[in-house]
């Protein structure tokens, strides 16, 4: 089973070897409301931790999705271009944004695990 970690900006990353699948949390999609547009990065693009790697737009506003660690994009979820609603219906599954090959897998050690993230969002409400 892959390790799943969460950022304070509500991205999740599921690590399989040195490749992490990244999306936004179910809490985040619920806060955004209906997602109508997603812009995913191109394969081959490199990002540093905290850089804007994707954009998610609800009816009301556009939000950035940040890279949770340094790495290079190996695949983007192009299905979201035609079906952005998958971010709402299955944020932590079919609504994934991109897969990133991490420069250093230890970079995500400091992120929250699922229990810590649940406690974190409970404080926000």
């Amino acid at each position: 089973m892959a390790t799943v970690k969460f950022t304070e900006e509500h991205e999740w990353i599921a690590l399989d070897g040195d490749v992490g699948t990244v999306g936004i949390s179910d809490y985040a999609q619920n806060q955004l409301g209906d997602v109508v547009y997603v812009e995913v990065p191109e394969a081959g693009a490199s990002f540093n931790k905290g850089e804007e790697a994707a954009v998610v737009e609800s009816v009301k506003a556009a939000s950035e999705v940040y890279a949770p660690a340094d790495g290079e994009i190996v695949e983007a979820n192009k299905d979201l271009e035609d079906n952005p609603g998958a971010v709402n219906s299955d944020a932590q599954g079919a609504g994934w944004f991109y897969k990133i090959k991490l420069n250093n897998v230890a970079d995500i050690d400091g992120l929250m695990d699922e229990d810590a993230y649940k406690a974190y969002v409970a404080e926000l409400d």
Binding site: G33, V36, E39, S58, K60, A61
Partner: protein, 367 residues
């Protein structure tokens, strides 16, 4: 909830319906209900939606020559309104810009005004300052206002108030609903047929619950109100129109009667009449971006050579259009339908073109 926010008479109903509440114009308002903006929007276009617009300002203006007095502040033909007839107009400033847009109804012995929530204090002060000596303003702070909009609105409302289904568009009448004395107009802000219902604030929840009990009616928040009005090509004050935009630039010439164009006699008439004769230097247009990316308010508009020609004033996703839509101002030379425009979104240039408003055909009752 922020303590400094005001609440409408329907606040506890919104909370009990599970609305997501946000600050808007100083009020704690429902941006959406659990159904979400897309579902609420589509429901309004296919059946009927109930909107709380009690934050808007309602007032009565009285006086021996009240229509002539108000005409000094607005370019609309107020003296020409038949009793019961309603008209859209704007408060203009001396520079010909727009202080607010409003609805005015001739109620026989007085005028009934509905103004925007965010402008109401300033509007009422403006009335007092300019025509307070020749008219009497009564602010109806205790009244509620709800809108019932959509193709099923007439069938729903006429079950509770027989006869309202044949009320002409842009008229107002006194109607009793379930024993509640209401003031109903056939008007709205969605492009659909529908009504706006003014009533004593303490009975607002009772009326809203009566209408929500109808199978065709769902509560609709401010999020869908915005997407519905944008698809209908209607201006939002503070975005598509403001103190710097004239009614002519905004494409609101239709709201200025022939007599007013000839006679003037309202604040800013010099600029407005000049622009009617010579055309304004910029125009509000509808913009249809290629692709799926929304172009939001503030997006820069350039011509194909890269020269800046305008800015988006409202933009987002149109659920009925099923794609991005926008409105904005461009130079007159670029305002013709089918003109190619470039929108700069996150540093990338998107192709788009000018289209004739509205994006979605208006579905008003025409008898």
């Amino acid at each position: 909830m922020n303590d400094t926010l005001q609440t409408t008479v329907l606040h506890r109903l919104h909370v009990s319906l599970g609305a997501k509440m946000v600050p808007f114009a100083g009020y704690d308002m429902p941006v959406q209900y659990p159904a979400g903006i897309l579902t609420e929007h589509r429901h309004t276009r296919s059946q009927a939606g109930l909107f709380d617009v009690s934050h808007m300002g309602q007032a009565i203006l009285r006086g021996d020559d009240v229509a002539a007095a108000l005409e000094t502040l607005v370019p609309g033909d107020i003296a020409g309104l038949e009793e019961g007839q309603m008209r859209y107009t704007q408060f203009t400033n001396e520079a010909g810009g727009i202080l607010d847009d409003l609805m005015v109804t001739n109620r026989g012995d007085h005028l009934f005004l509905v103004v925007n929530a965010g402008c109401k204090d300033a509007d009422f002060a403006h009335i007092q300052e300019h025509i307070g000596g020749r008219s009497e303003l009564e602010i109806l702070a205790d009244r509620g206002l709800v809108a019932l909009q959509g193709p099923e609105a007439a069938a729903v409302l006429s079950r509770h108030a027989p006869g309202v289904d044949t009320m002409p568009f842009m008229t107002m009448q006194d109607v009793e609903i379930a024993g509640i004395k209401c003031l109903i107009s056939r008007s709205g802000y969605t492009g659909e047929d529908g009504y706006e219902i003014s009533l004593p604030g303490n009975l607002g929840v009772e009326l809203a619950e009566l209408l929500l009990a109808e199978a065709a009616v769902e509560p609709i928040g401010l999020g869908a109100r915005d997407t519905l009005r944008l698809e209908a090509g209607l201006c939002l004050y503070g975005h598509d129109i403001d103190e710097t935009t004239s009614p002519i630039e905004a494409g609101l010439l239709w709201s200025i009667g022939k007599r007013r164009r000839e006679e003037g006699g309202f604040l800013g008439a010099e600029r407005i009449i000049t622009e009617i004769a010579n055309k304004p230097s910029r125009r509000r247009v509808g913009i249809l971006p290629d692709g799926r990316a929304p172009a939001r308010e503030g997006t820069e508009i350039t011509d194909p050579s890269g020269a800046k020609i305008g800015v988006v004033t409202s933009g987002g996703f149109g659920p009925t259009v099923d794609g991005p839509i926008a409105m904005g101002y461009v130079t007159r030379e670029n305002a013709a339908v089918d003109t190619t425009l470039q929108l700069t979104v996150r540093g990338k240039s998107l192709n788009s073109k000018v289209i004739k408003l509205p994006f979605v055909e208006q579905n008003y009752y025409r008898g």
